[in-house]
C-alpha cells in the first residue's frame, strides 16, 4: 500500500509538472467534440450518443498514449532500470501506472462531459453511469495493453509517430468521431473488426440505456488478451537484448 502510494505520487507529480503533455491530452478530445460534433446534435439521444463516443475517445487518448509513449520514454531513461531493482514487486509500479492513467482518463472524460453539458442537450441519468464507467474501463485496459505492446515493439523514438498513426485511424474507423452509418462505405465494412469499434459497442448501449450484446464483451476480452500476450512477448524480447 505504501509502495503503491509512493509510486503513484511520483507518477502523478511528474505528470502535473509537465503541463505541455497534460493539458493537450486533457483538452484535445473536448476541443474536437466542440468543433465537429456539438453543433450537429438535435436532441438528447444524439447528444448522449456523441458524448459516449467522444468520452471513449478521451479515455482512448489517455490510456493509449500513457502506456504507449510513456512506457517507450521509460525504456530510454536509465532511471526506470534503477526503479526496477529497488526491492519491490513490479506489480506496485504497474498498479501505480494504472492508477495514474485511470485518474487522467477520468479527468479527461469529466472535461468532455462538462463541455458537452454546456453545449448540447445532453441527458444522461445517474443510473446509466455505472455501466458507462465499466465499459470505459474495460476498453481503457485493452488500449493500455495495446500501447504497452507498441512501446516494446518499436524503438522509443518511433513510438510517438507510430502511436499517432495507429490511434487516429482506430478512433475514426471505430466510430468515435461520427456514428458508424456516416462512415465511408469501405470503412463501414472494416469497422466491426477493429478493437475500437468493439469498445464502442459496449459504450453505446451504456449511454443509450439499452442492453449489452455478450459478443462485444467477448471481442473486447479477446483483443485485451491478445494485446497482453503481445506486450508480454515484446517485453521479454526487449529485456533479452538490453
Amino acid at each position: 500500500m505504501k509502495l503503491w502510494l509512493a509510486h503513484t505520487k511520483a507518477e502523478l507529480l511528474a505528470l502535473l509538472r509537465t503541463p505541455g503533455f497534460l493539458i493537450p491530452t486533457m483538452l484535445f478530445p473536448s476541443m474536437f467534440f466542440l468543433m465537429f460534433a456539438a453543433p450537429n446534435l438535435p436532441g438528447p439521444e444524439a447528444a448522449n450518443f456523441a458524448t459516449g463516443s467522444f468520452m471513449t475517445f478521451a479515455v482512448f487518448t489517455v490510456t493509449f498514449f500513457q502506456f504507449g509513449v510513456g512506457t517507450a520514454n521509460e525504456r530510454e531513461n536509465p532511471w526506470s532500470s534503477f526503479v526496477r531493482v529497488l526491492p519491490a514487486s513490479p506489480l506496485y509500479r504497474t498498479a501505480a501506472k494504472v492508477t495514474t492513467a485511470a485518474v487522467l482518463a477520468l479527468l479527461a472524460a469529466l472535461v468532455l462531459v462538462l463541455a458537452s453539458a454546456a453545449s448540447t442537450p445532453l441527458d444522461l441519468p445517474l443510473a446509466r453511469w455505472p455501466r458507462i464507467f465499466l465499459a470505459l474501463a474495460a476498453g481503457g485496459v485493452m488500449m493500455g495493453m495495446l500501447g504497452t505492446a507498441l512501446a516494446y515493439l518499436v524503438t522509443p523514438k518511433a513510438a510517438l509517430p507510430l502511436a499517432n498513426l495507429i490511434y487516429l485511424p482506430l478512433a475514426f474507423m471505430g466510430g468515435m468521431w461520427m456514428p458508424p452509418e456516416l462512415l465511408p462505405k469501405i470503412v463501414q465494412g472494416l469497422s466491426p473488426y477493429l478493437p475500437s469499434r468493439q469498445w464502442m459497442e459496449l459504450v453505446w448501449p451504456a449511454v443509450m440505456g439499452t442492453s449489452w450484446d455478450t459478443v462485444h464483451w467477448l471481442a473486447v476480452a479477446g483483443f485485451t488478451v491478445a494485446f497482453a500476450l503481445l506486450a508480454g512477448w515484446a517485453q521479454r524480447r526487449d529485456e533479452a537484448v538490453r
Binding site: 509502495l3 509512493a6 505520487k9 511520483a10 531513461n77 532511471w79 532500470s81 534503477f82 513490479p90 537484448v241
Partner: protein, 290 residues
C-alpha cells in the same frame, strides 16, 4: 559472504559481455571492480542487483536469488547520474527510494550528509553533474543496506567532491556496511578498497590487494632521448623511434634511479601517466595471448 557469482555468462545482443565470471563479496569489505570501459563491470553489476538473468551460472545475494524483490532489501545502489526522473525534486526522489526499505535513513540527515540539504526542493534535472552524483550515492545509502553497490560513483567529479564522497563511503563501512564499487580509476580503488578484482573483456583477470594490482596495471611511461638505452629492470614494454625511447613501468622512480646509477646519457626525460585502458592493452592482452 554477502554475494557470490559462479561461472556466470551473459550475452547482450551479439556481444559476449561476461565470459565465465566468478567472484565473492565478503561481509564488511570494500571490493573494487576495476576495468576499462566495456570490460563488463556494469553488466556484472546489473546481474548482481537482479536487473537481468545470467545465460549460465549462478548468482546469490544474501543467500537468495537477486531476481526476487525481497532478496534485494539488503541492497542499495546508485542510479546512473544522467538518469533521474523528469520532473521530481531531490527530496521526492529520496523519499520514493526510502519507501522500499524497512529501516531507511532519515531523509534530512541523509541530505545533509551528502551536502544536498539546501537542494532538497530543487528539481533533479536542474542539478549540476557533481550534485547529481552526490544524490546518486546518497540513494544507495538511503535504505540502510547491508551491501551498497556503487557503479562508477565519482566519474566526472572534481577532486573536492570526490574526496567528500570517499569520506561518506568510509563512514558507511565503519558502521559495518559492505561496498562493491566499480571504477576505472586506479587511485579510487587504491584509496578505498580492501580487495580489487580486475575485469577485462568479460573476465576477471586478476584479484588481489590494491598494492598488488597497482604493481600490475598501475603503469607509467618514462620517455627520453638517448643513443643507447642500458639494460633496466622492471620494464613492461620498450618502444623505440630513432633515439626516442618510451619505457612502460610500474615504478617510474626506480627506473629513473637505475638510469642514473648506470650513468645512462639521456636527455628530455619525461614521466607520463598511462590510462588504465592503455595499461590493459599493454599488459593484460599480452598475458591473455601468451
Amino acid at each position: 559472504m554477502i554475494a557470490s557469482v559462479k561461472d556466470v555468462h551473459k550475452r547482450l545482443g551479439r556481444v559476449a559481455a561476461l565470459r565465465g565470471v566468478s567472484l565473492e563479496v565478503h561481509e564488511g569489505e570494500l571490493l573494487a571492480l576495476l576495468g576499462p570501459n566495456g570490460a563488463g563491470k556494469t553488466t556484472l553489476v546489473s546481474l548482481l542487483v537482479g536487473l537481468r538473468s545470467p545465460d549460465r551460472g549462478t548468482l546469490r545475494l544474501a543467500g537468495g536469488d537477486p531476481r526476487q524483490p525481497a532478496t534485494r532489501r539488503v541492497l542499495g545502489l546508485t542510479p546512473q547520474a544522467t538518469g533521474f526522473p523528469p520532473a521530481l525534486r531531490v527530496r521526492e526522489v529520496v523519499e520514493l527510494v526510502r519507501a522500499h526499505y524497512p529501516h531507511p535513513q532519515p531523509t534530512e540527515a541523509l541530505l545533509d550528509r551528502f551536502g544536498l540539504g539546501e537542494l532538497a526542493a530543487r528539481n533533479v534535472q536542474a542539478l549540476s553533474g557533481g550534485q547529481a552524483r552526490r544524490l546518486a550515492v546518497a540513494l544507495a545509502f538511503a535504505g540502510n543496506p547491508r551491501l551498497a553497490v556503487l557503479d562508477e560513483p565519482t566519474t566526472g567529479l572534481d577532486v573536492g567532491s570526490r574526496r567528500a564522497l570517499w569520506r561518506e563511503i568510509e563512514r558507511f563501512r565503519r558502521e559495518g556496511g559492505t561496498v562493491l564499487l566499480t571504477t576505472h580509476y586506479l587511485e579510487e580503488a587504491e584509496a578505498l578498497a580492501d580487495r580489487v578484482a580486475v575485469m577485462n573483456r568479460g573476465r576477471i583477470v586478476s584479484e588481489g590487494s590494491p598494492e598488488a594490482i597497482k604493481r600490475r596495471v598501475g603503469l607509467k611511461r618514462v620517455r627520453f632521448r638517448a643513443a643507447e638505452c642500458p639494460e633496466l629492470a622492471g620494464v613492461e614494454r620498450h618502444e623505440r623511434e630513432g633515439d626516442l625511447h618510451t619505457l612502460w613501468t610500474a615504478d617510474a622512480d626506480a627506473l629513473v634511479r637505475q638510469m642514473v646509477e648506470k650513468a645512462a646519457a639521456f636527455a628530455d626525460l619525461e614521466v607520463l601517466p598511462v590510462s588504465l585502458e592503455e595499461a590493459f592493452l599493454a599488459v593484460l592482452d599480452e598475458e591473455e595471448a601468451a
